[in-house]
């Protein structure tokens, strides 16, 4: 996400802004990010675009003290593994939440936030993060 070109980010707007993934109409399984082929149904699968739910629960989390390239100044921050209401798991930053409220099982909701800025002159990437509700 960090080193992407403007066009790479542009191609992923629906994924990043609205959690657009897909669903296999044959087996009913949801995928995020979208997959090209249903791993279960293979060629018999029928994939259609679908939005992931806005809410889920924290399966696990970690506090990041040393962020990777592009996120150095964001640290410390919490990275959470969120199980959405449709059972899809998603890795995202947990924001706007005091540390003592970030717990396994906490209910979380998607928010729209700035993810990264390419320095002072490059493009700004926006996308999803979650907060405990």
């Amino acid at each position: 996400m960090v080193e992407g070109s403007p066009s790479l980010g542009w191609r992923n707007y629906s994924q990043r802004y609205n959690l657009a993934g897909n669903e296999c109409k044959t087996c009913g399984k949801h995928f995020f990010p979208a997959v090209a082929l249903c791993p279960t149904c293979r060629r018999k699968g029928k994939l259609v675009e679908t939005k992931m739910p806005m809410e889920g629960r924290l399966l696990s989390y970690s506090k990041v003290f040393v962020g990777p390239v592009g996120f150095e100044m964001d640290a410390p921050y919490h990275l959470g593994l969120v199980k959405l209401q449709n059972n899809v798991k998603i890795l995202a930053e947990i924001v706007d939440t005091p540390e003592n409220k970030i717990k396994i099982g906490s209910k979380v909701r998607k928010v729209f936030r700035k993810i990264h800025s390419e320095g002072e002159t490059g493009t700004i990437s926006y996308g999803y993060k979650f907060r405990v509700v």
Partner: protein, 348 residues
Amino acid sequence: MNAGIVAYGSYVPKLRITPEEIGRVWGKDGKKVGQSLGVKEKAVAAFDEDTATISVEAARNAINDFGIDAKKIGAVYVGSESHPYAVKPTSSIVAEAIETGNDYTAADLEFACKAGTAGMQACAGMVNSNMIEYGLAIGSDTAQGKPNDALEFTAGSGGTAFIIGKKPKEIIAKINHTCSFTSDTPDFWRRQHAEFPEHGGRFTGEPAYFRHVHSAAKMCMDKMKRKPKDYKYAVFHQPNGKFPLKVGKMLGFTDKQLEQGLMTPLIGNTYSGSTPIGLASILDVAKPGDKILAVSYGSGAGSDAFDLTVTKNITKKRAKVSVRKLIENKEYVDYAIYAKNRKKLKTL
């Protein structure tokens, strides 16, 4: 005019800083400064929040709470003086995030603190002339205040989105009339590439704020043949907690008519978001038939006035979380965390 507000939504960042904490750093009696400005605390956008993220959250609240089909929005205007890009619209980012499709016109507006209401006027005009079905107008800012400047005690962050439409069964507040009073008055400005705005000190008062707000309010009331007592509520732009009460008194309004829309004491001056957030707070409690006078002010300078009547539809549809409830979710930060979040440290 047939147009009116059919939906509204607000967003205020969670972080807060008090005047006492700002004063502590600059050797000033922050409590006294806060009292003199009528500000108890101000909302601070987090490291990863900007005018685009605030606008998207506000617009999504409006769409979701009122069941608006975003595909029917034909115009998107975001008014702000803190757009994330100098060139590249915030409005298209918002439209993409709320999924309007591509059949819409958009522009970013800037007129100091009144660009949000200018967007409402543009949408009302387009809706009225049948150019569009719905127009989305947002007033949103992450206001900049130079460290150790008087503005730093008030410059806050937040925004409100209004969707303007004309279907009588959807309108919650009919726009009876809108007018503006505008002049070339250099009371506050920010030059290209300058990080913080400059202002004319006391010059921002009498010839600037008071002249424009008072004139636009009078023009609007005269046109509608109304007196201050005809309005249940009024909201005037809130650069601090004192000016709107003073101009209200000059016009003949009581503090009681103003208190519901007076948000600056609790979240600071959200610039382009200031009057829209105040109006949203009024819509949170207004009853059918209530008349509202809303007058914004943007330095440079101009005021947009709106005469509104709340309809019976408001009993069925309101924001799910009121502005006053929304701002209860807060976390106080010290000056160091504030400086980090607002990128006042040069290495950020």
